[in-house]
Symmetry: C2
Subunit: 515 residues, 2 copies
């Protein structure tokens, strides 16, 4: 195993993997090395003594992690001594790794951290993406099984039969023209977004929209206001671009800058007014007016992240912030990742008219995009009304799933735990008492096969973070929701109980949960 | 026309559109405004007097540009006075613009340059991409009409029938696992690239590979060596990342740093050893050794841009630089844009093993990629040998087209003009005497419908640039090549003649060519 040396890899990632307990960091990293195929089946883990010395942690911690991994079937004790990686290739989309010898590389490589740039190390220290993209209760993903495969294929086949030569080249700046017009019309009717086709800039998703906006509008050292809490991805894009993310508190009406915040105007404000992420509330009309006035007054930009407003249960979606903006300060970012599926990689920015050419050019220059075949299919799909009916159909389905999850929560916890932000979107938040460490609950749930996300990690300022779990319900059927929530409820129950018996001291909870 | 105001737009772009003559800059910008749909059919151009005053140029220049545009059918003189945009929507992929009123935005917008970041303005001042992507002699594009539509559709249809749910989510870090393995195997056999599947990081193309490499490996202020001349896109990515591009001369053996260059080691060196872009020579073995030794000695990275080495006519492709690298300093970037088609947006990086996890994570974090359906189709396409046979087939075809172009060149110019770099790739260079301004020739040819690229603009240091034309031949049949080259030869002939009659003084040539 010259090509991948676990202990070196662990040394490099262990110290940048957050400030959680050593036990869980080590467990997560080894799991990951196995799940991502860096450790092939049959590979031997380092001795517990050696690894403990390398990482400067107690040998007992390593032994406990190995034990846990054995119980969970990731590794097994071999003949004689040593611990060996199991063959888990059946479970994975990615094939089991089959390393070949790459002579020479092993000796020369130093600890990787030294070879990356500072911004590269910072980027990797705060990863927001997840390799796990399905199952109860992964938030932020739609049910891809609902994708309108037949309708899409029909359009696709027709296009392919015609020989879509012009669609197979690099895309023109801004993207495929007819789709830009269609999206402009569509947004105008469903979101009250006011734009010409030229203001619609095709992207591969909201994430890319944010990346180009921060690079094109802000210079190193500029500050960017980010809602506290907010979507993980924003922070990292902002920081990688050399900018300073400034967390701004939110309340029930949305972003709510303090007087001292307002004295230091940012260059850009990123908000999700239709459905705050992850808390789920809608920004009030008063707060929208305040935000637009302030942006105009200090001449900063506002990026409206409208990632899932199509899914609103009960009330109609509010019109967009962009539609209220008379000063041309708002950029509106949207995507088909939630309405159709993430694999499409089609999103868009709607920018103020004076910026439209600059953004079209910059996206082309920075990313050399092009998937116009998808653009053309999507164009026909929307034009023929398929998108609208697809959204209506899945909205009903997601509403059922949300109801199922909420009723499970009430069944298990009655009124003891609050549900936050369940009126819209693809996830809700199950609030936990702040004495319960949500990261520990998430980890324990994951061990039993249930995916959740700890609310506290969406805050930049962890000291004032609220505890809770993000539960995505859109991607799972009621039949999947019920047993998964049973399992999760048991995990949560243990911590609620332990909190009661131990007087709720956080330190105790944490210790119980980890070693 | 509240939404788009030509004179404001011209004021903003005119001064950042390079240092060419006012006439050609103005002509290019107005053409672009029409071709990209910013000016709808029937829109009225500003008065020549007003526009001249706005831009601070002679009214006569504006009049000449309007005359030229009228001759070429972009605009027409209206009833009474004024110049109006023609309906050219039939000619375009993009639909004619249909602007709607967007009340309020017009009054508040200032000159756009003031609202962009410094790096944004720099990015836009040096655009490398082109909206024109087809026709004789657009370089760097394959013949998309040769795309193996049937084979691809067959695989695609089978996949869609199965319901490729897992492929419709966000991709795991690094991309679709089976394709990473396939590319690793493929590169090993055809390019002697040594890697495991984990070292293959899927990207959307070489451009994205370079973008992530410069951001992950270099910090603001670091210098990056770039071949002089080189691919346009590199410079802009390097500069946007806050880095300093340092041009390094090349000779017939490839990159050739001077002693004073070597005294200031860069953080990264970007080279195209298999087929220098745009000059087309192969880096010699001695120079490769020198480069690898130097990189190891100063601990910098080398990015090997292997954009089109599959197309080598006559001799076999040389093995990759990566395959010679025993110190793990080389990143290898490749793409299917030339072998299949740009619209696929599938490329890859092969990184040294210690960087593999970092790059997989960084690509996922920065770009949230995902088009795994394409990945899965491509995987089967390569596995079943279709890629290899497709390349063999089109290589023969491109060789015929190259031969046709070279014979046209000899037919028109005998030995008076040199052909450079015609042994491989999708384009060659027709060298011009340095007394002929290649930018002027390119502009004149474009007016007669022939696309070429001026060699001089690929140099960072224009003072030492060589004059010549990049002629792409892969995307056009011999029947298209012959008349297009006839036209081009006449344009070139005028300048060769004018050079002789006027003693070859560059100033004269330039003046003749412009006003």
């Amino acid at each position: 195993m010259k090509a991948f040396i676990l202990s070196e890899w662990l040394q490099q990632y262990f110290f940048s993997s957050g400030d959680g307990p050593a036990y869980s960091r080590l467990y997560d990293l080894i799991c990951r090395a196995i799940l991502e195929g860096h450790l092939a089946a049959g590979a031997r883990l380092p001795s517990s003594r050696g690894l403990a010395a390398d990482l400067g942690i107690a040998r007992n911690t390593v032994l406990q992690v190995y034990e846990q991994l054995t119980e969970e079937g990731y590794v097994h004790a071999g003949v004689g001594r040593g611990t060996y990686v199991e063959d888990i290739s059946q479970d994975l989309l990615q094939p089991a790794a089959s390393f070949r010898e790459t002579p020479g590389t092993a000796e020369h490589k130093g600890p990787i951290g030294h070879d990356l740039s500072r911004r590269g190390r910072a980027l990797l220290a705060h990863l927001g993406f997840s390799s796990r993209q399905a199952g109860a209760f992964m938030p932020g993903v739609p049910d891809v099984r609902e994708f309108p495969l037949k309708t899409w294929s029909r359009i696709q086949n027709r296009l392919w039969r015609e020989g879509p030569w012009d669609l197979m080249r690099y895309a023109p700046a801004g993207g495929y023209g007819p789709l830009r017009q269609t999206i402009s019309d569509y947004l105008n009717s469903v979101r009250s977004v006011r734009s010409s086709a030229q203001q619609v800039i095709m992207t591969t998703g909201i994430h890319q929209g944010i990346d180009v906006a921060v690079r094109l509008l802000c210079d190193p050292g500029d500050s960017v206001w980010i809602e506290e809490p907010a979507y993980w991805g924003v922070r990292n894009l902002v920081a990688t671009a050399g900018l300073r993310p400034v967390p701004i508190r939110v309340d029930d009406e949305g972003i709510w800058p303090r007087e001292q915040d307002r004295e230091h105007p940012p260059r850009l404000i990123v908000v999700a007014p239709s459905h705050q992420y992850p808390l789920g509330m809608v920004m009030s009309l008063a707060r929208r007016r305040m935000l637009l006035d302030y942006a105009q007054q200090v001449s900063c930009w506002v990026l409206e992240d409208d990632y899932d407003s199509e899914f609103r249960y009960g009330s109609r979606p509010l019109p967009s912030l962009q539609g209220m903006d008379d000063a041309g300060r708002v950029l509106y970012a949207g995507s088909f990742s939630k309405t159709l599926c993430p694999g499409l990689r089609v999103g868009f920015l709607v920018v103020p008219e004076p910026l439209s050419l600059a953004f079209a050019d910059a996206v082309a220059e920075l990313y050399r995009e092009g998937n116009m075949v998808h653009h053309a299919i999507l164009n026909e799909f929307i034009r023929n009304g398929h998108l609208a009916s697809h959204i209506r159909r899945v909205r009903r389905r997601y509403a059922e799933r949300r109801d199922c999850l909420i009723s499970e929560i009430h069944h298990h916890f009655g009124d003891r735990l609050d549900v936050v932000g369940g009126d819209a979107g693809l996830h809700l938040i199950l609030a936990l008492p702040d004495t319960v460490d949500d990261q520990v609950v998430v980890r324990d749930a994951l061990r039993e096969g249930v995916v959740t996300r700890p609310l506290s990690t969406y805050y930049l300022d962890r000291a004032h973070a609220r505890s809770g779990l993000l539960l995505g319900y859109a991607g799972v059927t009621p039949d999947e929701i019920r047993p998964a929530f049973d399992t999760l409820a048991q995990v949560i129950g243990r911590y609620l109980q332990s909190m009661q018996t131990k007087g709720g001291r956080r330190d105790d909870t944490r210790r119980t949960g980890t070693q």
